[in-house]
Subunit: 215 residues, 2 copies
Amino acid sequence: MSSFNPSAPPMPNPSSSSSSYNSSNYNSNPSYGYSPFPPGTDPEIIRSFQMVDRDNSGFIDDSELQNALSSSYHRFRLSTIRLLIFLFKNPTELSMKIRPGEFAALWSCLGQWRAIFERFDRDRSGKIDLEELRDALYSLGYAVPPSVLQLLISRYDNGGGQRVRLDFDSFVECGMVVKGLTEKFKEKDSNYTGSATITYDDFMTMVLPYLVTYN
Amino acid sequence: MSSFNPSAPPMPNPSSSSSSYNSSNYNSNPSYGYSPFPPGTDPEIIRSFQMVDRDNSGFIDDSELQNALSSSYHRFRLSTIRLLIFLFKNPTELSMKIRPGEFAALWSCLGQWRAIFERFDRDRSGKIDLEELRDALYSLGYAVPPSVLQLLISRYDNGGGQRVRLDFDSFVECGMVVKGLTEKFKEKDSNYTGSATITYDDFMTMVLPYLVTYN
Protein backbone atom coordinates (compact mmCIF):
# COMPACT_ATOMS: atom_id res chain seq x y z
CA MET A 1 0.00 0.00 0.00
CA SER A 2 1.35 3.41 -0.90
CA SER A 3 2.57 5.54 1.94
CA PHE A 4 1.43 8.60 0.00
CA ASN A 5 -1.86 9.14 1.71
CA PRO A 6 -2.21 12.85 2.22
CA SER A 7 -5.52 13.06 3.98
CA ALA A 8 -6.28 9.67 5.37
CA PRO A 9 -7.31 9.76 9.00
CA PRO A 10 -4.59 8.61 11.38
CA MET A 11 -5.57 5.02 12.10
CA PRO A 12 -3.53 2.26 13.69
CA ASN A 13 -4.52 -0.37 11.13
CA PRO A 14 -4.82 -0.28 7.37
CA SER A 15 -8.33 -0.18 5.97
CA SER A 16 -10.34 -3.36 5.84
CA SER A 17 -10.17 -3.45 2.05
CA SER A 18 -6.45 -4.19 2.13
CA SER A 19 -7.14 -7.45 3.95
CA SER A 20 -8.18 -8.88 0.61
CA TYR A 21 -4.64 -8.35 -0.64
CA ASN A 22 -3.81 -11.02 -3.16
CA SER A 23 -0.50 -10.76 -4.87
CA SER A 24 -1.41 -13.37 -7.48
CA ASN A 25 -3.81 -10.84 -8.99
CA TYR A 26 -1.05 -8.28 -9.34
CA ASN A 27 -0.43 -7.91 -13.04
CA SER A 28 -3.54 -9.95 -13.77
CA ASN A 29 -4.82 -7.68 -16.53
CA PRO A 30 -2.96 -8.24 -19.77
CA SER A 31 -3.94 -4.85 -21.16
CA TYR A 32 -1.22 -3.32 -18.99
CA GLY A 33 2.31 -4.35 -20.04
CA TYR A 34 3.35 -3.99 -16.42
CA SER A 35 1.23 -3.06 -13.45
CA PRO A 36 1.38 0.62 -12.69
CA PHE A 37 -0.03 -0.15 -9.23
CA PRO A 38 2.17 -0.58 -6.17
CA PRO A 39 2.88 -4.24 -5.31
CA GLY A 40 0.15 -5.67 -3.13
CA THR A 41 -2.61 -3.38 -4.36
CA ASP A 42 -6.06 -4.84 -3.70
CA PRO A 43 -7.31 -6.34 -7.01
CA GLU A 44 -10.65 -4.59 -6.47
CA ILE A 45 -8.84 -1.26 -6.69
CA ILE A 46 -7.09 -2.28 -9.92
CA ARG A 47 -10.36 -3.48 -11.43
CA SER A 48 -12.14 -0.25 -10.44
CA PHE A 49 -9.45 1.85 -12.08
CA GLN A 50 -9.33 -0.20 -15.26
CA MET A 51 -13.11 -0.24 -15.57
CA VAL A 52 -13.24 3.55 -15.87
CA ASP A 53 -9.92 4.08 -17.69
CA ARG A 54 -11.41 2.69 -20.87
CA ASP A 55 -8.76 4.10 -23.21
CA ASN A 56 -5.92 2.71 -21.04
CA SER A 57 -4.46 6.20 -20.86
CA GLY A 58 -3.08 5.42 -17.40
CA PHE A 59 -4.91 8.25 -15.71
CA ILE A 60 -8.50 9.12 -14.88
CA ASP A 61 -10.24 12.49 -14.74
CA ASP A 62 -12.98 13.78 -12.45
CA SER A 63 -16.02 12.18 -14.05
CA GLU A 64 -14.15 8.85 -14.40
CA LEU A 65 -13.22 8.99 -10.73
CA GLN A 66 -16.83 9.78 -9.87
CA ASN A 67 -17.87 6.64 -11.74
CA ALA A 68 -15.13 4.52 -10.19
CA LEU A 69 -16.22 5.41 -6.66
CA SER A 70 -19.91 4.96 -7.41
CA SER A 71 -19.46 1.19 -7.45
CA SER A 72 -18.49 1.21 -3.76
CA TYR A 73 -20.06 4.41 -2.44
CA HIS A 74 -22.97 6.60 -3.36
CA ARG A 75 -22.29 9.06 -6.17
CA PHE A 76 -19.95 11.75 -4.86
CA ARG A 77 -20.56 15.39 -5.71
CA LEU A 78 -18.10 16.73 -8.27
CA SER A 79 -16.79 19.25 -5.71
CA THR A 80 -15.72 16.39 -3.42
CA ILE A 81 -14.25 14.53 -6.38
CA ARG A 82 -12.17 17.53 -7.34
CA LEU A 83 -10.93 17.99 -3.78
CA LEU A 84 -9.89 14.32 -3.75
CA ILE A 85 -8.04 14.70 -7.04
CA PHE A 86 -6.32 17.85 -5.88
CA LEU A 87 -5.15 16.22 -2.67
CA PHE A 88 -4.02 12.95 -4.22
CA LYS A 89 -2.64 13.87 -7.61
CA ASN A 90 1.06 14.45 -8.12
CA PRO A 91 1.56 18.10 -7.12
CA THR A 92 3.70 18.72 -10.20
CA GLU A 93 0.89 17.50 -12.46
CA LEU A 94 -1.05 20.61 -13.47
CA SER A 95 -4.14 18.93 -14.85
CA MET A 96 -6.78 17.35 -12.66
CA LYS A 97 -5.97 13.70 -13.25
CA ILE A 98 -4.82 10.87 -11.08
CA ARG A 99 -2.71 7.83 -11.83
CA PRO A 100 -2.89 4.26 -10.53
CA GLY A 101 -0.71 4.63 -7.42
CA GLU A 102 -2.55 7.78 -6.44
CA PHE A 103 -5.90 6.11 -7.05
CA ALA A 104 -4.90 3.20 -4.79
CA ALA A 105 -3.92 5.65 -2.03
CA LEU A 106 -7.18 7.54 -2.45
CA TRP A 107 -9.22 4.34 -2.33
CA SER A 108 -7.48 3.20 0.83
CA CYS A 109 -7.99 6.61 2.40
CA LEU A 110 -11.73 6.50 1.66
CA GLY A 111 -11.92 3.05 3.26
CA GLN A 112 -10.47 4.52 6.43
CA TRP A 113 -12.91 7.44 6.41
CA ARG A 114 -15.75 4.99 5.82
CA ALA A 115 -14.79 3.00 8.91
CA ILE A 116 -14.83 6.20 10.97
CA PHE A 117 -18.14 7.28 9.47
CA GLU A 118 -19.73 3.98 10.47
CA ARG A 119 -18.21 4.05 13.93
CA PHE A 120 -19.60 7.51 14.70
CA ASP A 121 -22.95 7.18 12.95
CA ARG A 122 -24.21 5.72 16.21
CA ASP A 123 -27.88 5.75 15.32
CA ARG A 124 -27.10 4.06 11.97
CA SER A 125 -28.96 6.83 10.15
CA GLY A 126 -26.42 6.90 7.32
CA LYS A 127 -25.81 10.53 8.26
CA ILE A 128 -23.45 12.31 10.61
CA ASP A 129 -24.70 15.25 12.64
CA LEU A 130 -22.73 18.05 14.28
CA GLU A 131 -22.08 16.16 17.53
CA GLU A 132 -21.09 12.97 15.71
CA LEU A 133 -18.74 14.96 13.46
CA ARG A 134 -17.19 16.65 16.50
CA ASP A 135 -16.66 13.27 18.18
CA ALA A 136 -15.27 11.70 15.01
CA LEU A 137 -12.75 14.52 14.52
CA TYR A 138 -11.89 14.46 18.23
CA SER A 139 -11.17 10.73 18.04
CA LEU A 140 -8.64 11.53 15.32
CA GLY A 141 -6.92 14.07 17.53
CA TYR A 142 -8.58 17.19 16.13
CA ALA A 143 -10.24 19.30 18.82
CA VAL A 144 -12.13 21.63 16.52
CA PRO A 145 -13.60 24.68 18.32
CA PRO A 146 -17.43 24.84 18.27
CA SER A 147 -17.42 28.07 16.22
CA VAL A 148 -15.25 26.44 13.55
CA LEU A 149 -17.41 23.30 13.53
CA GLN A 150 -20.49 25.46 13.08
CA LEU A 151 -18.87 27.33 10.19
CA LEU A 152 -17.79 24.06 8.62
CA ILE A 153 -21.21 22.46 8.80
CA SER A 154 -23.11 25.60 7.80
CA ARG A 155 -21.87 25.10 4.27
CA TYR A 156 -24.15 22.08 4.01
CA ASP A 157 -27.21 23.88 5.35
CA ASN A 158 -29.94 23.88 2.74
CA GLY A 159 -31.77 26.69 4.49
CA GLY A 160 -34.78 24.57 5.33
CA GLY A 161 -34.31 25.06 9.06
CA GLN A 162 -33.52 21.41 9.72
CA ARG A 163 -30.46 20.27 11.62
CA VAL A 164 -27.58 19.69 9.20
CA ARG A 165 -26.73 16.02 8.72
CA LEU A 166 -23.84 14.98 6.49
CA ASP A 167 -23.84 12.10 4.08
CA PHE A 168 -20.60 10.23 3.47
CA ASP A 169 -19.11 12.49 0.83
CA SER A 170 -19.79 15.66 2.84
CA PHE A 171 -18.25 13.92 5.84
CA VAL A 172 -15.17 13.04 3.80
CA GLU A 173 -14.97 16.62 2.57
CA CYS A 174 -15.19 18.02 6.12
CA GLY A 175 -12.76 15.47 7.46
CA MET A 176 -10.17 16.04 4.76
CA VAL A 177 -10.44 19.81 5.04
CA VAL A 178 -10.02 19.75 8.82
CA LYS A 179 -7.27 17.16 8.71
CA GLY A 180 -5.45 18.80 5.80
CA LEU A 181 -5.56 22.35 7.15
CA THR A 182 -4.74 21.23 10.68
CA GLU A 183 -1.73 19.21 9.54
CA LYS A 184 -0.49 22.16 7.49
CA PHE A 185 -0.92 24.41 10.52
CA LYS A 186 0.93 21.92 12.74
CA GLU A 187 3.91 22.00 10.38
CA LYS A 188 4.24 25.67 11.33
CA ASP A 189 3.51 25.00 15.02
CA SER A 190 5.97 22.25 15.71
CA ASN A 191 5.80 22.74 19.49
CA TYR A 192 2.00 22.44 19.49
CA THR A 193 1.44 25.79 21.17
CA GLY A 194 -1.79 26.43 19.28
CA SER A 195 -0.22 29.43 17.59
CA ALA A 196 2.10 29.71 14.58
CA THR A 197 4.05 32.37 12.74
CA ILE A 198 3.28 32.11 9.06
CA THR A 199 4.47 34.15 6.09
CA TYR A 200 1.94 35.47 3.59
CA ASP A 201 3.29 33.23 0.82
CA ASP A 202 3.07 30.14 3.02
CA PHE A 203 -0.42 31.10 4.20
CA MET A 204 -1.74 31.36 0.63
CA THR A 205 0.04 28.17 -0.45
CA MET A 206 -1.37 26.27 2.55
CA VAL A 207 -4.92 27.35 1.91
CA LEU A 208 -5.46 27.51 -1.84
CA PRO A 209 -5.51 23.74 -2.51
CA TYR A 210 -8.63 23.50 -0.35
CA LEU A 211 -10.57 25.99 -2.44
CA VAL A 212 -12.27 23.64 -4.81
CA THR A 213 -13.79 24.84 -8.01
CA TYR A 214 -15.06 23.67 -11.36
CA ASN A 215 -13.76 24.29 -14.82
CA MET B 1 -24.38 52.92 -1.25
CA SER B 2 -23.74 50.46 1.54
CA SER B 3 -20.32 50.54 3.12
CA PHE B 4 -20.62 46.79 3.71
CA ASN B 5 -18.65 45.62 0.74
CA PRO B 6 -16.47 42.78 1.96
CA SER B 7 -14.59 41.88 -1.18
CA ALA B 8 -14.84 44.78 -3.53
CA PRO B 9 -11.51 45.80 -4.97
CA PRO B 10 -10.08 48.96 -3.44
CA MET B 11 -10.98 51.63 -5.97
CA PRO B 12 -10.88 55.39 -5.63
CA ASN B 13 -14.28 55.95 -7.25
CA PRO B 14 -17.58 54.18 -6.91
CA SER B 15 -18.55 51.85 -9.73
CA SER B 16 -19.99 53.31 -12.88
CA SER B 17 -23.40 51.82 -12.16
CA SER B 18 -23.90 54.14 -9.22
CA SER B 19 -23.70 57.11 -11.56
CA SER B 20 -27.27 56.33 -12.51
CA TYR B 21 -28.30 57.05 -8.93
CA ASN B 22 -31.78 58.41 -8.93
CA SER B 23 -33.39 58.99 -5.60
CA SER B 24 -36.83 59.48 -7.11
CA ASN B 25 -36.91 55.79 -7.96
CA TYR B 26 -36.25 54.82 -4.37
CA ASN B 27 -39.44 53.21 -3.11
CA SER B 28 -40.79 53.10 -6.65
CA ASN B 29 -42.15 49.57 -6.41
CA PRO B 30 -45.43 49.48 -4.50
CA SER B 31 -45.13 45.78 -3.73
CA TYR B 32 -42.71 46.67 -0.94
CA GLY B 33 -44.34 48.64 1.87
CA TYR B 34 -41.02 50.37 2.46
CA SER B 35 -37.82 49.93 0.55
CA PRO B 36 -35.47 47.45 2.15
CA PHE B 37 -32.67 48.92 0.02
CA PRO B 38 -30.27 51.58 1.29
CA PRO B 39 -31.19 55.11 0.21
CA GLY B 40 -29.76 55.94 -3.20
CA THR B 41 -29.65 52.37 -4.45
CA ASP B 42 -29.50 52.22 -8.24
CA PRO B 43 -33.04 51.40 -9.48
CA GLU B 44 -31.55 48.73 -11.78
CA ILE B 45 -30.35 46.89 -8.68
CA ILE B 46 -33.80 47.07 -7.07
CA ARG B 47 -35.47 45.86 -10.26
CA SER B 48 -33.01 42.97 -10.59
CA PHE B 49 -33.69 41.86 -7.05
CA GLN B 50 -37.46 42.12 -7.33
CA MET B 51 -37.51 40.31 -10.64
CA VAL B 52 -36.05 37.16 -9.08
CA ASP B 53 -37.65 37.47 -5.62
CA ARG B 54 -40.99 36.48 -7.04
CA ASP B 55 -42.61 35.60 -3.72
CA ASN B 56 -41.50 38.91 -2.15
CA SER B 57 -39.86 36.95 0.63
CA GLY B 58 -37.25 39.69 0.97
CA PHE B 59 -34.31 37.38 0.33
CA ILE B 60 -32.94 35.41 -2.61
CA ASP B 61 -31.17 32.07 -2.72
CA ASP B 62 -28.37 30.80 -4.95
CA SER B 63 -30.34 29.99 -8.08
CA GLU B 64 -32.27 33.25 -7.81
CA LEU B 65 -29.01 35.17 -7.50
CA GLN B 66 -27.66 33.28 -10.50
CA ASN B 67 -30.68 34.44 -12.49
CA ALA B 68 -30.44 38.02 -11.22
CA LEU B 69 -26.82 38.34 -12.34
CA SER B 70 -27.47 36.67 -15.71
CA SER B 71 -29.24 39.80 -16.93
CA SER B 72 -26.03 41.84 -16.65
CA TYR B 73 -23.30 39.20 -16.87
CA HIS B 74 -22.92 35.76 -18.34
CA ARG B 75 -24.34 32.94 -16.24
CA PHE B 76 -22.10 32.47 -13.20
CA ARG B 77 -21.15 29.00 -12.03
CA LEU B 78 -22.98 27.97 -8.86
CA SER B 79 -19.65 27.72 -7.01
CA THR B 80 -18.99 31.42 -7.66
CA ILE B 81 -22.56 32.27 -6.69
CA ARG B 82 -22.18 30.44 -3.39
CA LEU B 83 -18.89 32.20 -2.65
CA LEU B 84 -20.60 35.54 -3.32
CA ILE B 85 -23.48 34.67 -1.00
CA PHE B 86 -21.13 33.47 1.70
CA LEU B 87 -19.10 36.68 1.54
CA PHE B 88 -22.04 39.08 1.36
CA LYS B 89 -24.73 37.51 3.53
CA ASN B 90 -25.16 38.54 7.13
CA PRO B 91 -22.65 36.34 9.01
CA THR B 92 -25.25 35.50 11.65
CA GLU B 93 -27.61 34.19 8.96
CA LEU B 94 -26.97 30.46 8.76
CA SER B 95 -28.74 29.76 5.50
CA MET B 96 -27.33 30.75 2.13
CA LYS B 97 -29.58 33.70 1.37
CA ILE B 98 -29.02 37.37 0.83
CA ARG B 99 -31.20 40.36 1.50
CA PRO B 100 -31.66 43.63 -0.41
CA GLY B 101 -28.87 45.68 1.21
CA GLU B 102 -26.45 42.81 0.79
CA PHE B 103 -27.53 42.33 -2.82
CA ALA B 104 -26.90 46.03 -3.53
CA ALA B 105 -23.41 45.76 -2.04
CA LEU B 106 -22.71 42.61 -4.05
CA TRP B 107 -23.93 44.23 -7.27
CA SER B 108 -21.77 47.28 -6.71
CA CYS B 109 -18.77 45.08 -5.94
CA LEU B 110 -19.25 43.13 -9.18
CA GLY B 111 -19.39 46.43 -11.09
CA GLN B 112 -16.01 47.32 -9.66
CA TRP B 113 -14.53 43.93 -10.56
CA ARG B 114 -15.99 44.29 -14.05
CA ALA B 115 -14.21 47.62 -14.54
CA ILE B 116 -10.93 46.01 -13.52
CA PHE B 117 -11.55 43.00 -15.76
CA GLU B 118 -12.07 45.28 -18.75
CA ARG B 119 -9.06 47.43 -17.90
CA PHE B 120 -6.71 44.43 -17.78
CA ASP B 121 -8.19 42.41 -20.62
CA ARG B 122 -5.90 44.38 -22.89
CA ASP B 123 -6.45 42.30 -25.99
CA ARG B 124 -10.25 42.52 -25.49
CA SER B 125 -10.47 38.74 -25.66
CA GLY B 126 -13.12 38.60 -22.95
CA LYS B 127 -10.67 36.46 -20.98
CA ILE B 128 -7.92 37.17 -18.48
CA ASP B 129 -4.70 35.19 -18.64
CA LEU B 130 -2.08 34.61 -15.94
CA GLU B 131 -0.11 37.79 -16.69
CA GLU B 132 -3.24 39.94 -16.91
CA LEU B 133 -4.48 38.48 -13.60
CA ARG B 134 -1.11 39.18 -11.99
CA ASP B 135 -1.20 42.79 -13.23
CA ALA B 136 -4.83 43.27 -12.18
CA LEU B 137 -4.11 42.02 -8.65
CA TYR B 138 -0.92 44.06 -8.50
CA SER B 139 -2.83 47.20 -9.45
CA LEU B 140 -5.05 46.55 -6.43
CA GLY B 141 -2.04 46.33 -4.14
CA TYR B 142 -1.74 42.54 -4.04
CA ALA B 143 1.70 41.31 -5.04
CA VAL B 144 0.86 37.62 -5.33
CA PRO B 145 3.94 35.37 -5.62
CA PRO B 146 4.22 33.48 -8.94
CA SER B 147 3.87 30.08 -7.22
CA VAL B 148 0.62 31.18 -5.58
CA LEU B 149 -0.70 32.62 -8.84
CA GLN B 150 0.10 29.34 -10.57
CA LEU B 151 -1.71 27.39 -7.86
CA LEU B 152 -4.68 29.73 -8.08
CA ILE B 153 -5.03 29.50 -11.83
CA SER B 154 -4.36 25.75 -12.00
CA ARG B 155 -7.80 25.17 -10.56
CA TYR B 156 -9.26 26.38 -13.86
CA ASP B 157 -7.05 24.18 -16.00
CA ASN B 158 -9.19 21.80 -18.02
CA GLY B 159 -6.24 19.53 -18.69
CA GLY B 160 -6.27 20.20 -22.43
CA GLY B 161 -2.77 21.64 -22.37
CA GLN B 162 -3.90 25.13 -23.36
CA ARG B 163 -2.95 28.22 -21.45
CA VAL B 164 -5.54 28.94 -18.75
CA ARG B 165 -7.71 31.97 -19.49
CA LEU B 166 -10.33 33.13 -17.03
CA ASP B 167 -13.78 34.33 -17.90
CA PHE B 168 -15.39 36.99 -15.74
CA ASP B 169 -16.78 34.75 -13.02
CA SER B 170 -13.51 32.85 -12.57
CA PHE B 171 -11.74 36.21 -12.43
CA VAL B 172 -14.17 37.41 -9.75
CA GLU B 173 -13.63 34.18 -7.84
CA CYS B 174 -9.82 34.52 -7.98
CA GLY B 175 -9.96 38.21 -7.13
CA MET B 176 -12.27 37.75 -4.17
CA VAL B 177 -10.28 34.82 -2.82
CA VAL B 178 -6.98 36.70 -3.06
CA LYS B 179 -8.45 39.92 -1.71
CA GLY B 180 -10.39 38.21 1.07
CA LEU B 181 -7.56 35.98 2.28
CA THR B 182 -4.99 38.76 1.96
CA GLU B 183 -7.13 41.20 3.94
CA LYS B 184 -7.65 38.58 6.64
CA PHE B 185 -3.92 37.96 6.76
CA LYS B 186 -3.20 41.70 6.97
CA GLU B 187 -5.46 41.97 10.02
CA LYS B 188 -2.95 39.69 11.75
CA ASP B 189 0.06 41.45 10.24
CA SER B 190 -0.75 45.03 11.12
CA ASN B 191 2.83 46.20 10.58
CA TYR B 192 2.95 44.70 7.07
CA THR B 193 6.01 42.57 7.76
CA GLY B 194 4.82 39.78 5.46
CA SER B 195 4.59 37.43 8.42
CA ALA B 196 1.90 36.96 11.06
CA THR B 197 1.33 35.00 14.24
CA ILE B 198 -2.00 33.25 14.02
CA THR B 199 -3.78 30.92 16.42
CA TYR B 200 -5.23 27.66 15.14
CA ASP B 201 -8.80 28.82 15.81
CA ASP B 202 -8.24 32.07 13.93
CA PHE B 203 -6.54 30.24 11.08
CA MET B 204 -9.49 27.91 10.58
CA THR B 205 -12.02 30.74 10.93
CA MET B 206 -10.13 32.86 8.39
CA VAL B 207 -9.99 30.13 5.81
CA LEU B 208 -13.20 28.14 6.00
CA PRO B 209 -15.51 30.76 4.43
CA TYR B 210 -13.51 30.43 1.22
CA LEU B 211 -14.09 26.72 0.91
CA VAL B 212 -17.15 26.73 -1.25
CA THR B 213 -19.33 23.70 -1.60
CA TYR B 214 -22.74 22.55 -2.73
CA ASN B 215 -25.62 21.18 -0.75
